[in-house]
């Protein structure tokens, strides 16, 4: 069969290279133009909406959609070319260098032009916060890197892993593209993708498929797994330091009386200082390690709590700063490390209940707002339970509390805690529905 097959003109040296390249260019144009049209039209159509309020995130949604289109197109064309080579005889036998160039480099015009449209869209949507040239370049290189990453991965790992990797990169890049000076990071992905693709060609020709796959994966991972990225994943808090949210001082509402640490707690002791600014009375005392001030029972009496890191029970004591007497007040059962992690506390006027705020994480880095869990301690019964999780609070203030006999209201946050059932909930319009 093979012997009687009619030889293709190119194999008979009757098909000039310029004609081959012309046909390949024509093929790329036919296949790429719908993607180019849709990819350029979508971002440009959003321009009239760029000055409107309430459209937060719309530009990024369009950018994401364009990116996904590009990922699928890249994966689909790389899959078809790869399949043709292995399974079906091509109508036009193409030399390997030409095939590589037309697979990787020539179609880059499509993501580049779409990148220009996306860059223009970003500049229109955020004219106040971005530099023109840097944004344009970031958008272009972002889409180029996405295209090349998927094109490099599809022949070696098949289409679905390549699409998933491409979409993950879209997400990583979507966060990066807003920052300036990110072009080198995109360039790194572009270059590594091209190198990976060349290496895959070499390995697959030699029949070393699994080695080639491993090389491609390792090479592309080096683009993402940087020392900084690894460091950011590791816990970087010095365990010898108390958590940054930990209660380090308390004061009365008018800030006239305060209790605070007079020396850093990390020195292995808890040195507390009481200060009454009305008569300049100041008195310090050393307490066992891990002691925290929790609230004022009276003007001169301070409720203190101490919890060892590996213990659930909290020892309570009352310190009379004027007479320098300390009286043990029993304890309460809570969770390990609760007191060390509590950011603020609020004692009820009758001294029966204690609200503890346990911060979890900032809303975003360096934000004054943070997510926290609310704990309520019943000091008479000696137990503390979480009453509400995932509450958005402000870092610089204690939750302004209004205590009734059976309820605690956190003014400003619209939160109520039922002290009988120890359950917290948000106040809703349904609570205030009745009209006289």
């Amino acid at each position: 069969m093979e012997a009687t097959r009619m030889r293709h003109p190119i194999e008979q040296d009757r098909f000039p290279t310029y004609r081959l390249w012309g046909r390949l260019l024509w093929k790329e144009w036919r296949e790429g133009r719908p993607i180019l049209a849709v990819g350029v039209a979508l971002p440009l159509l959003t321009l009239p909406m760029s000055k409107r309020e309430g459209m937060t995130g719309f530009d990024y949604s369009v950018m994401g959609l364009v990116g996904i289109l590009l990922v699928l197109w890249a994966a689909d064309r790389a899959r078809r070319i790869g399949m043709d080579r292995g399974q079906v005889r091509q109508a036009l036998p193409i030399p390997a260098p030409a095939r590589w160039i037309f697979m990787h480099l020539v179609p880059l015009l499509v993501p580049a032009l779409i990148g220009v449209a996306v860059g223009v869209m970003m500049i229109a949507w955020h004219p106040e916060s971005v530099a023109f040239k840097a944004t344009l370049m970031a958008a272009i290189f972002y889409l180029l890197s996405t295209f090349l990453l998927v094109t490099a991965l599809t022949p070696s790992l098949s289409m679905i892993p390549a699409v998933i990797a491409g979409i993950l990169w879209l997400f990583v890049g979507l966060d990066l593209v807003r920052w300036e000076n990110v072009t080198p990071q995109f360039m790194k992905v572009i270059l590594l993708s091209l190198v990976a693709s060349l290496l895959w060609e070499a390995f697959s020709r030699a029949g070393w498929v699994w080695t080639g796959r491993a090389v491609v994966i390792v090479l592309l991972l080096t683009a993402f797994v940087t020392p900084d990225a690894v460091r950011s994943l590791l816990p970087h808090r010095d365990p010898s330091q108390p958590p940054s949210y930990s209660i380090d001082s308390i004061s009365t509402e008018d800030h006239l009386i305060s209790v605070e640490f007079s020396s850093p707690e990390s020195l292995g002791r808890s040195m507390l200082s009481y200060n009454d600014r009305r008569d300049n009375f100041e008195h310090g005392r050393e307490f066992p390690y891990f002691t925290r001030p929790l609230g004022f029972i009276a003007e001169d009496r301070v409720l203190l709590g101490r919890q060892a890191p590996d213990k659930r029970d909290i020892h309570l004591s009352v310190w009379n700063a004027r007479t320098d007497e300390v009286r043990e007040e029993g304890g309460l059962m809570a969770m390990k490390g609760l007191l060390a992690a509590a950011g603020s506390s609020e004692l009820s006027p009758d001294g029966h209940y204690l609200l503890l705020v346990k911060p979890k994480k900032e809303l975003y880095p360096n934000s004054p707002q943070f997510w926290g869990n609310l704990w309520m301690a019943d000091l008479k019964r000696g137990r503390a339970v979480p009453v509400m999780a995932n509450v958005l609070l402000l870092a610089w203030e204690n939750p302004p509390a209004a205590w009734t006999l059976d309820r605690l209201y956190l003014s400003g946050y619209g939160i109520q805690v039922d002290l009988r059932t120890m359950r917290g909930s948000y106040l809703t319009p349904a609570h205030f529905g009745r009209t006289p």
Partner: protein, 470 residues
């Protein structure tokens, strides 16, 4: 059905795995609190990952049937069973992953938190996660029956979204630049119209794609590409246009009822929890996620006083007050009296929620800070900023120079009893007795305490009398 489900898992297994892992990750790290019955606010851009993977899983749903239609013809399978199997497959992934996340959350949660994760909370939390991903899968599936292959499904979606984005752009560019509403329309009404218009087009696109796609699932494998595209367009366009135009022409009252809901913004609760000033926002309903940057203010807000024990609304005093102002400062002096002022305004209101009355106090300057009321609850000290003309040395010119005053108001009469110029560094003020204020400079620890006796005679008030209103 079992075999069809097995076929789905074999064909779409990798997508299902990636999608399930994304849902699991988002459920664990962002939705985790919903298993405790709490609200979840998603702020990470990663929240879109399971949505996109769901869309892609759906967009390739019919790719194998369209490529190998003989496999469907050769077996006694109805199109409806085929569709049901695909939807059930997605439901298993959508609900299975968050349920697994709920179980993991319960297992790894510290013991004290477990009482918050009741079975009903966990199930409701999982359903709250699952339904939106399932709807996105449905959208992708509807696109997958038009043009073969995964890329074809996404191209169909992108093609259907082109008229949507064009419609949104046109709506914003032309119809809301004065032609429909006119320049006299209020900001809230215009925003509401715009929101209803946008929602109409978006909902129309979703409904159009879904109905059009589902309507051709019955014939998908026997029709040619052209025929499928034609049928899809015939169903999609009218639905899209009807919903979009209905959204544009929707009366404000209907739009407010359909798209807005009431949400408590702020509550100023009195010290003993008897009364509260509540600020309520009208916010658009966001079915996908609850975002922090949802602009509530542009859709209006309302303030009212409530009695906390029975939730009864009380009438707000009818005073000349800029209630819409954001920088309104409301302070409860006691449970019976509140004090409100607008920053940088030279007046203050004493408000009595029990009787619904108020008293305006004109001040010689702008309010900066309120201090603690006297032990008998009669006097209120506050700091104000005033300006006076001072000559500029060696010239004949004068300039306005700011200075700070501490004034004391008699709460029952609203009378200013005394005023005194004070240092800007004056945070430490307290009541020595019912009529004597003490204060110290905050900068120096060794500064002397000074006393300020309120000498003006107060109007006597009978012990059993309520606060008089003039």
């Amino acid at each position: 059905m079992k075999r069809l489900l097995w076929k789905e898992f074999r064909e779409r297994g990798w997508w299902a795995l990636a999608w399930a892992l994304a849902i699991l990750g988002i459920s664990l790290f962002s939705h985790g609190q919903s298993f405790y019955g709490e609200q979840t606010m998603l702020t990470s851009p990663l929240q879109a990952l399971p949505l996109i993977l769901g869309l892609l899983a759906g967009a390739g749903a019919y790719s194998s049937e369209l490529a190998r239609s003989h496999s469907v013809f050769s077996r006694p399978i109805t199109p409806r069973t085929l569709l049901a199997a695909k939807l059930l497959f997605a439901a298993i992934v959508c609900l299975g992953a968050p349920l697994l996340a709920a179980v993991i959350t319960w297992c790894v949660a510290p013991e004290p938190y477990r009482h918050l994760a009741t079975p009903s909370n966990m199930l409701l939390g999982a359903l709250g996660v699952a339904w939106k991903y399932w709807l996105v899968y449905l959208l992708g599936l509807s696109c997958s029956v038009v043009v073969p292959s995964l890329a074809g499904g996404i191209l169909t979606l992108a093609a259907a979204l082109l008229p949507l984005i064009a419609a949104l752009a046109l709506v914003d560019l032309y119809l809301f630049s004065g032609y429909v509403q006119g320049s006299s329309a209020s900001v809230i009404t215009e925003n509401l119209h715009r929101y209803a218009g946008r929602s109409g087009w978006v909902f129309g696109a979703w409904l159009g794609i879904t109905i059009a796609g589902l309507s051709i699932t019955r014939f998908a494998v026997v029709l040619s590409n052209d025929e499928r595209i034609k049928r899809f367009t015939i169903v999609f366009l009218p639905l899209f246009l009807i919903c979009g135009i209905a959204g544009m022409l929707m009366p404000s009252r209907v739009a407010a009822r359909l798209f807005l809901h009431r949400e408590i913004g702020w509550t100023h609760i009195s010290p003993k929890g008897q009364y509260a000033l509540v600020t309520e926002f009208r916010r658009p309903i966001n079915i996908v996620l609850r975002s922090l940057d949802n602009p509530g203010a542009s859709f209006g807000h309302a303030r009212y006083l409530v009695r906390m024990n029975d939730g009864m609304r009380l009438s707000l005093p009818n005073i000349d007050f800029e209630w819409w102002r954001w920088n309104l400062d409301w302070n409860w002096i006691t449970d019976e009296i509140a004090c409100a002022y607008v920053l940088n305004k030279e007046r203050l209101y004493l408000i009595y929620p029990g009787s619904g009355e108020s008293r305006e106090v004109s001040l010689p300057g702008k309010v900066i800070k309120l201090h603690t009321v006297s032990p008998d609850g009669r006097l209120l000290p506050l700091e104000i900023r005033s300006e006076r003309k001072v000559p500029i040395p060696k010239t004949s010119l004068t300039a306005w120079k700011p200075y700070r005053q501490l004034i004391t108001i008699d709460i029952p009469t609203g009378q200013i009893l005394d005023e005194r110029e004070v240092s800007p560094n004056l945070p430490y003020i307290w009541w020595h007795d019912n009529r004597t204020l003490a204060y110290r400079n905050s900068l120096s620890r060794k500064s002397e305490t000074q006393y300020w006796r309120i000498r003006k005679k107060l109007t006597p008030i009978p012990l059993d009398a309520t606060m008089p209103i003039q």
